[in-house]
């Protein structure tokens, strides 16, 4: 691997870490506009982080080491994921480390460690949040896997980079199964990232919250890391979506260095902007469902993904 690829790898990670809060902020802004509230500034998330980092950490008296290390683990996994997902270019040195299935495993690791940390203090809300989060997880994961299976059937690989390469190698990609898969993926994305209709990142209403309930005990730098990690998660999911369904602009193998990179950056930015707006729209249009309805919602996603597979096997190939 040349120095350039290493540089790109590094740049991609840094970029991801850098713009993830921005992305979150952008979505918030769009939501505010759509609900015609006066929007918070775009850089609000960064300010938030800075404030948190400067605060004193208030730890529960009997918080164990698990509780304190989790934020770092969370952040670490998300950063690694960002390094593996081809957001700018495909020939990443780390891309081979984990294919898409392993990537899901990585997210699961993050989820489980957060859930365990939430149970550590032993408060009513922490355990409640952990339980709900795991429930969402074990329903969302299969759906996501089905989506990836679908992609594999199309392009014969589970490594995202290779998927993108194969994808852009083909001129036309009109496969009926993709539509199902895309919808399923979108639903999973919403569920996994604690967005409406499953969860509401902006609420602290006890009975409905999931993600917030888990991080309730965190404060200061720990909370900052957790928040940053969750915005990174959203960013990663977005990138996965791009890689799977609209990989245009991502620098493939063979594409020569500088121009491709510039193109890729601009492409990513535009996609993020559009996607953020779209997410905000969806969130504003849909209402949050009762926690008992969440399984049905995710079962729907799961079903769509499986349908996609069947459609592919029936019509495609």
């Amino acid at each position: 691997m040349s120095g350039f690829t290493i540089f790109r790898q590094f740049g991609e990670v840094v970029l991801g870490i850098g713009i993830a809060p921005l992305f979150a902020g952008w979505i918030a802004q769009c939501r505010a506009w759509l609900q015609n509230r006066s929007a918070p500034p775009l850089l609000q998330p960064y300010r938030m982080l800075r404030k948190l980092f400067n605060k004193d950490a208030a730890l529960a008296t009997d918080a164990s080491a698990l509780f304190r290390t989790t934020p770092y683990v969370l952040f670490g996994t998300m950063v690694l994921a960002a390094a593996i997902i081809p957001s700018l270019g495909t020939d990443l040195p780390l891309a081979r480390v984990a294919d898409a299935i392993a990537l899901i495993g990585l997210f699961a690791t993050a989820r489980v460690s957060l859930a365990l940390a939430a149970m550590d203090i032993g408060t009513a809300f922490g355990t409640l949040g952990a339980r709900r989060e795991m429930m969402i997880g074990f329903l969302a994961e299969p759906a996501l896997l089905m989506v990836l299976f679908n992609a594999f059937l199309l392009f014969g690989s589970t490594s995202l980079s290779n998927l993108v390469d194969a994808y852009s190698a083909r001129r036309t990609v009109i496969d009926p199964s993709v539509i199902f898969a895309a919808i399923a993926f979108l639903m999973v994305l919403l569920a996994e990232n604690a967005r409406i209709p499953i969860d509401n990142p902006a609420t602290h209403l006890e009975l409905t919250m999931i993600h917030e309930a888990m991080v309730l005990e965190y404060s200061a730098r720990h909370l900052a890391l957790v928040e940053w990690a969750s915005s990174l998660k959203l960013f990663n999911y977005a990138c996965i979506g791009f890689a799977l369904f609209l990989p245009w602009g991502i620098a493939t193998h063979g594409a020569d260095g500088g121009r491709a990179l510039l193109l890729a950056v601009t492409a990513l930015m535009t996609k993020l902007a559009i996607a953020g707006a779209a997410l905000a729209l969806i969130e504003s249009l849909s209402a949050k469902v009762r926690i008992f309805r969440a399984p049905e919602y995710l079962a729907m996603a799961f079903l769509l993904a499986v349908l996609g597979l069947l459609v592919h096997l029936l019509l495609g190939a």
């Binding site: 690694l80 480390v97 294919d99 392993a102 032993g122 408060t123 589970t158 597979l309």
Partner: protein
């Protein structure tokens, strides 16, 4: 001479006569057991001398088994001067047995080390007797794997069942434990008869019960399928495949924890071994229908086990059900392998089979680890019910941290070993569309979905397990006296945890071992990928994974982040009471209980259970919400059988009515009918 050549030389030397050495190991286990009878009541002698030696022997077995997997190792056969006149005991060491010996040895070493610290007097059977049964159990398992004729196999098999039965009922004064043991032995015996009949078919009229004769026998498809089905029935009953699983959640909790660990970690694998031996080695032909059947059964068991594990309130029962789940995954892998092999996709068959084998190995490691951990918890707290535990991570940090490794592994999270096998299994599912049966292709995605669901549920279950036992606030005041495990127990746990991490980080080692087996059974094994920390089973561009990089990546990022945070922020910490939305009156009873954690599952999969709730009265000051979950299959299958037998027994016992005239009438009628018959 330098080190590498010396090691190679010694490996040569060992591999030349390692079957003999293995037999010596097995024998020395038996001897250890007998020696224990010299001073049956001295815990110090038995626990602190014999069990560690047993552990060392286990290491030896693992080493020799591993050597049998090295390239260029010749299959060895020995005929012992024992057994039936026409059928002496045949012993054979090939990669398949080698793999399972490796499994037995590694797990056995850890468990024996732990047991050395675990067993204490005054717990049912005398330590010496316990030691005897324990080591007979070990030896018989090794013998099962080594046997090369039906008779020796059956003898070892039933000895295994018998010794484990005695271990399970070591606290025989408790009626439930006796009941569990009885159910276990009954199922084992019936299963064994099925296996026996399967061998009866396999010998194919040659009246030779050696496996070689069976290999050369050519059966008609009907007979072959009969043999396979009987074997599936028998070995499934041992492995706890649904619906033959009922004994498992009873027997495993009843046993002392090291024994539960052995049964779950090792004994179930002997069933897997037996099935592999019959379906891939002894039977000369395989049909894809078998594969489909096994996949269906396996996936159902997997889902069933996971769902039931999620609603358990007894920590060992939870683990027992999770064993059912994992066995389901393993059987799914084998089923896939049969399906691929029957449709001539040998490479994919090798992939699926490797997945199954590696998962067996992984399960042996982490399930033993977790059962042993529950043992330590049991000793420390005298509590088995999840509703009475909690917060132990502060009282027993060692057990907690080692158990965490096991928990994350069994939850199938990278970069630990559980993930590797599940990754391989999913990979092999990806290739099912190439099977030339359109209908199967339609069904397989559902299979993959079920598999994914099972795997994800396992994570849920394990979060519940770990969180309720080790995290949160202690649910009983007595728990503050809980003490950590002693050094032998820690050593045993550590060994198993190390195994989990090793396979997770360098999965290629396991893949190599499995590759030796698949190479022997299928003439084909998956690509390993290079260097050693990669696995690329089919082709690098199709799928690749590196646990080492993953671990390094996470660790690197974490440490960098930590340093940055340390440098850039002041890092002050204030210890306060927990926040919890500002609710001041926290008590430990406000945490989620095990039942609470099961609630979403009960809500979603209500169809699987028979539930009996008893709700507390609103005026209760310390209300406890209890729910009794029952397995529908028990009422659907087993109770009817039992009732049928009872009824038949009643009918039959009328024959013995006590009246002489009637008895005379019987013989009179018998005479007349026979006369009429010959007339």
């Amino acid at each position: 001479m330098n080190l590498s050549s010396w090691t190679s030389w010694s490996i040569q030397a060992l591999s030349r006569n390692d079957l003999a050495l293995l037999l010596t190991c097995v024998l020395s286990w038996l001897i250890l057991g007998v020696v224990a009878l010299v001073r049956p009541h001295s815990v110090r002698f038995v626990a602190h001398v014999l069990f560690p030696v047993g552990a060392l022997v286990g290491l030896g077995v693992a080493l020799l088994g591993g050597i049998a997997l090295t390239a260029g190792h010749a299959v060895q056969i020995v005929v012992l001067p024992l057994g039936l006149p026409d059928l002496p005991f045949h012993v054979r060491l090939d990669p398949l047995s080698g793999f399972f010996l490796l499994l037995l040895g590694v797990a056995g070493a850890g468990i024996s080390t732990f047991a050395a610290g675990y067993f204490r007097s005054g717990e049912g059977t005398a330590p010496g007797l316990l030691c005897l049964q324990y080591h007979i159990f070990l030896a018989s398992m090794a013998a099962v794997v080594l046997a090369d004729d039906a008779y020796f196999f059956m003898v070892a098999w039933e000895t295994m069942a018998l010794s484990s039965y005695f271990l399970v009922t070591s606290q025989h004064r408790i009626p439930e434990i006796r009941r569990a043991g009885f159910l276990y032995l009954l199922m084992a015996h019936v299963g064994a008869i099925c296996i026996l009949l399967s061998f009866g078919v396999l010998q194919g009229g040659s009246w030779q019960f050696t496996f070689d004769a069976m290999r050369s026998a050519r059966l008609t498809p009907l007979w072959a399928s009969t043999a396979f089905l009987l074997a599936l029935l028998g070995f499934g009953a041992k492995a706890g495949l649904v619906p033959m699983h009922v004994w498992l959640p009873e027997a495993h909790p009843a046993a002392p924890s090291p024994v539960s660990a052995m049964m779950s970690g090792m004994m179930l694998k002997t069933a897997v071994y037996g099935l592999l031996r019959i379906s891939f080695d002894l039977l000369h032909v395989r049909f894809w229908q078998w594969g489909v059947l096994m996949i269906a059964l396996g996936l159902f068991s997997g889902l069933f086990g996971a769902i039931f594990a999620a609603v358990q309130t007894d920590m060992k029962r939870l683990l027992a059900y999770s064993s059912i789940e994992n066995i389901g995954l393993i059987f799914t892998g084998i089923g896939l392998a049969i399906l691929f092999e029957a449709s001539n996709l040998r490479l994919f068959a090798a992939l699926a089979l490797s997945a199954a084998l590696i998962h067996a190995l992984n399960h042996a490691l982490f399930k033993s680890l977790l059962f042993l951990a529950t043992g330590s918890v049991l000793h420390a707290t005298k509590q088995r019910s999840l509703g009475k535990l909690g917060g132990l991570i502060r009282r027993m940090p060692w057990v907690a941290s080692l158990a965490l490794v096991g928990t994350l592994s069994i939850a199938g999270l990278p970069p630990l070993n559980g993930f590797v096998s599940e990754w391989l299994l999913l990979q092999s599912f990806l290739f099912t569309p190439q099977v030339p049966h359109a209908f199967i292709n339609m069904l397989i995605p559902l299979g993959a979905a079920a598999l994914a669901l099972t795997v994800a549920l396992a994570a849920y279950v394990m979060v519940k397990f770990y969180g309720v036992i080790f995290l949160g606030q202690p649910r009983e005041p007595s728990l503050v006296h809980a003490h950590d495990a002693n050094w032998l127990e820690r050593l045993g746990l550590g060994w198993l945890a190390f195994g989990c991490i090793l396979i997770g980080v360098l999965p290629q080692l396991a893949l190599r071992a499995a590759g030796a087996v698949t190479g022997k059974l299928l003439g084909q094994s998956v690509k390993l990928g290079s260097p050693v920390w990669w696995i690329t089973p089919i082709a690098p561009e199709q799928a690749s994974y590196s646990g080492l990089y993953l671990l390094a990546g996470i660790a690197g990022v974490v440490s960098v982040t930590y340093l940055l945070v340390r440098i850039l922020t002041h890092g002050r910490v204030r210890r306060t009471a927990s926040w919890d939305c500002g609710y001041p009156w926290q008590t430990s009873r406000m945490q989620d209980t095990a039942e609470g954690f099961g609630q979403p599952i009960r809500h979603m999969f209500g169809a699987f259970f028979r539930m009996e709730r008893d709700l507390p009265s609103p005026s209760d000051i310390a209300p406890r919400y209890r729910i009794h979950i029952e397995d529908r299959l028990w009422r659907a299958i087993y109770l009817p059988i039992a009732r049928g037998v009872e009824r038949l027994a009643d009918v039959v016992s009328v024959l013995q009515g006590g009246r002489l005239a009637i008895y005379l009438l019987y013989s009179f009628l018998t005479l007349l009918s026979l006369l009429a018959f010959v007339l």
